[in-house]
């Protein structure tokens, strides 16, 4: 995966050096920022051996919550995540079913709440009142800091290490004395919080957000985590891998355009990359 990204960068540097213009990189970073932050949270859930496909709907709900106050977004996200977490982690309902239900239910809840209308952002909210240029760099710096902090925490915070153990074997983790249910709930709640944060940082760029925001976001983020080398079965994955996964999947479309290919190839190539990641895991498992 690292090599795929390096190869893409090398081809671009040779064939389309304009790709590396600061403005282009900045726009790409802004376009992928929400995916990156959500993928940070999804990494935790996937490490713990679970899945959450409701993040796109959570994202829209959090965007609507900003209409009341900016801090309401992460709060709403954490509440959604906590609900998913209690259903999956405490009651042990299958997470694909629970989050399928919350994905659908939350999406229609937001349509009903807004009656389909766009939500106006509070006055002075845009760019946090900083102006476009500074605001843009602030967003990029904030998400980079978040990813760095998450990478550090996954290595050095004790409870974050539990995600690996729980995902590898819930039963072994339980016998080791790890509070397995609480760890699972925490993963979902943290993902909700981060989704709210992603909605907040994303909305800063606009004056209004739409109720259909975040459709397909869950697939992008899951794909990035998996392409980043995390095992969908849980227990394995890194923050660095996830960042590279977001970068590879998020830039491939723009890169194609710079190289003169049709944009219609984007999804096909993304699919091929995801499949390649799955095959890579298969080969690795066979070798071991």
């Amino acid at each position: 995966m690292k090599w795929a990204l390096a190869a893409l960068a090398a081809i671009l540097a040779f064939a389309a050096p304009d790709f590396f213009a600061l403005a282009n990189l900045r726009d790409l970073a802004l376009a992928n920022l929400a995916t990156l932050i959500v993928a940070c949270g999804l990494l935790l859930v996937i490490l713990a051996g679970e899945i959450d496909i409701s993040v796109g709907s959570q994202f829209a709900l959090c965007g609507w919550a900003i209409g009341f106050a900016p801090w309401a977004a992460p709060l709403a996200g954490a509440a959604c995540g906590l609900m998913n977490g209690l259903l999956c982690g405490a009651l042990r309902l299958p997470s694909i079913v629970v989050t399928l239900a919350t994905m659908v239910a939350l999406r229609d809840a937001i349509r009903w709440l807004t009656q389909g209308a766009w939500t106006r952002m509070p006055d002075g909210f845009q760019w946090f009142g900083l102006g476009q240029t500074q605001g843009q760099w602030l967003l990029i710096a904030a998400s980079a800091a978040l990813a760095l902090a998450m990478g550090w925490a996954l290595r050095n915070v004790r409870v974050m290490r539990f995600f690996y153990a729980v995902g590898a074997s819930g039963e072994s983790a339980r016998l080791t004395g790890i509070p397995v249910a609480r760890v699972r709930v925490l993963a979902f709640a943290a993902l909700g919080l981060l989704t709210g944060l992603a909605a907040l940082l994303n909305a800063v760029r606009f004056t209004e957000v739409q109720p259909s925001a975040g459709i397909g976001l869950e697939l992008k983020a899951i794909a990035a985590v998996v392409v980043g080398g995390a095992s969908i079965r849980g227990g394995r994955g890194t923050m660095l891998g996830t960042v590279l996964g977001v970068a590879l999947l998020g830039t491939i479309g723009a890169a194609l355009a710079f190289l003169g290919f049709s944009a219609y190839w984007e999804k096909a190539i993304q699919g091929a990359i995801i499949l390649a990641a799955a095959l890579a895991e298969y080969w690795e498992a066979r070798r071991a």
Binding site: N156, R158, R161, A168, L175, G177, G235
Partner: protein, 439 residues
């Protein structure tokens, strides 16, 4: 120190342990022996606290750790972290102190003389190395009692010798050790006392100096032969199943004895694939019947050869087997999971009988069924053989084999090492062959 007093435990109708008293003192190695199914695993689970006894008490001084034949480490985590997850289980720290973790792991590993880099991921370790890490976990948590459950079963000779050194070291450190092994000669090297379990009961506890290999085998095997089945007249026909050292003829019941891991199930699967015999697999819940599906579908599954299911014929066949095998169920529409263990086993049997096989392989057909159902299944098997079926019966219960089989073949390490005729089959001789020649 650890002591279990008068502990009993049942699983459903099966009594796994009955009034067993067992202890291990500091600085002592207490060996525990018995055939498959004698109750050793249940006793260990009760000693470690993984299982509660139905009756009786367990006193533990200090922590108890267990080292199993198959280590269960977190493969994606380092050796140091695998150890730390246990030692830090009551820790209130927020952050990981990696250098402390590594130092602790290094100290625990060096106390048992193991040279393993604590930073390595557990999935890069060999099996003996993983076992050393499991032992290091016990040392790091300062477990006062360490239980070894067949630790050498999958170890090469040289690594076994290393393990005995570690056992001696732990003993010298004043820990109480419990050691389970089928390799009896090991016990004479390392054990101080030995207890024999049979059928969930403690038969005897002796100082190791007072027993011999032969006396242990005699106590493990017991004397009783199952008389649940009346003696049969056998008229063997043509050979229906064939493997190196093994032939099963029509009308015959041949038993296959061996320790867990001797290769009996593998042989059964090979015969199933090559000789088109019907195989009723062990662990029926996982391999045998499909719980949520009705009895009729379960019976029809293997005989099904057409694209569309003939539901009427399937029902008729299920009803006839229900009568023939006396399957007790609310009806052939009842899900199999609502039946008792013995009746589930009969459904698994019916599925294969419905294919009209010439030979039948039964892998532990009476595992986990109560005594009454056991006798019924044994009579069923005898009846099938009388009707001209060639039967290969895999069982860990010697009395069952002795009572039912015309001949008993013994497997060890993947090969058949001995065959006994009904007239010459004696429990201790069969057990002797299962365990291997005395070293």
């Amino acid at each position: 120190m650890i002591r279990a007093v008068d502990v009993s435990r049942s699983f459903g109708a099966i009594r796994a342990l009955a009034n067993v008293t067992f202890d291990a003192q500091p600085g002592e190695v207490h060996a525990l022996v018995g055939e498959n199914g004698a109750g050793k695993s249940t006793l260990i689970k009760i000693l470690t606290g993984a299982l509660e006894p139905d009756a009786g008490t367990v006193e533990r001084a200090g922590a108890v750790a267990a080292v199993y034949q198959q280590p269960a480490l977190f493969g994606e985590l380092s050796v140091a972290e695998n150890i730390a997850l246990l030692t830090e289980r009551d820790s209130r720290r927020w952050l990981v102190d990696w250098s402390m973790r590594e130092a602790n792991a290094r100290r625990a590993l060096s106390r048992i003389g193991a040279e393993i880099d604590p930073r390595r991921l557990a999935n890069t370790l060999s099996l003996p190395e993983q076992q050393m890490v499991e032992i290091a976990k016990a040392v790091a948590t300062d477990a006062r009692t360490v239980i070894f459950d067949e630790p050498t079963a999958s170890l090469p000779e040289a690594d076994s010798a290393r393990l005995f050194d570690v056992v001696a070291e732990l003993k010298a450190q004043g820990r109480a050790l419990i050691y389970i092994s089928h390799r009896l000669e090991e016990l004479f090297r390392i054990a101080d006392r030995v207890t024999v379990l049979r059928d969930g009961r403690r038969i005897v506890t002796n100082a190791i100096g007072e027993v011999t290999r032969a006396s242990l085998i005699g106590q493990m095997a017991g004397r009783e032969v199952d008389t649940m089945v009346p003696a049969r007249e056998t008229k063997p026909g043509e050979v229906r199943l064939r493997a190196p050292g093994l032939e099963v003829r029509a009308g015959e019941i041949v038993g296959l004895a061996g320790l867990v891991g001797a290769g009996r199930t593998e042989l059964a699967r090979r015969l199933f694939a090559e000789d088109a015999a019907a195989l009723v697999p062990e662990d029926r819940r996982r391999n045998g019947v499909i719980g949520p599906m009705p009895v009729s579908d379960n019976v029809g599954l293997a005989a099904l050869k057409t694209f569309l299911v003939d539901r009427v014929a399937e029902r008729r066949s299920a009803e006839s087997f229900r009568e023939r095998l006396a399957i007790k169920c609310a009806g052939v529409d009842a899900p199999v999971e609502t039946l008792s263990g013995g009746n589930q086993q009969k459904v698994a049997l019916a599925r294969w009988l419905a294919t009209n096989p010439g030979a039948l392989i039964l892998d532990e057909p009476t595992q986990g069924v109560d005594v009454g159902a056991k006798a019924e299944i044994c009579r069923l098997i005898a009846g099938l053989a009388d009707g001209g079926m060639a039967v290969l019966l895999i069982s860990s219960e010697l009395p069952e084999l002795l009572g039912l089989c015309d001949r008993i073949a013994v497997m060890r390490r993947g090969a058949i090492v001995a065959t006994f005729h009904r007239s010459e089959a004696e429990p201790s001789r069969i057990l002797e062959a299962m365990l291997g020649a005395a070293a």
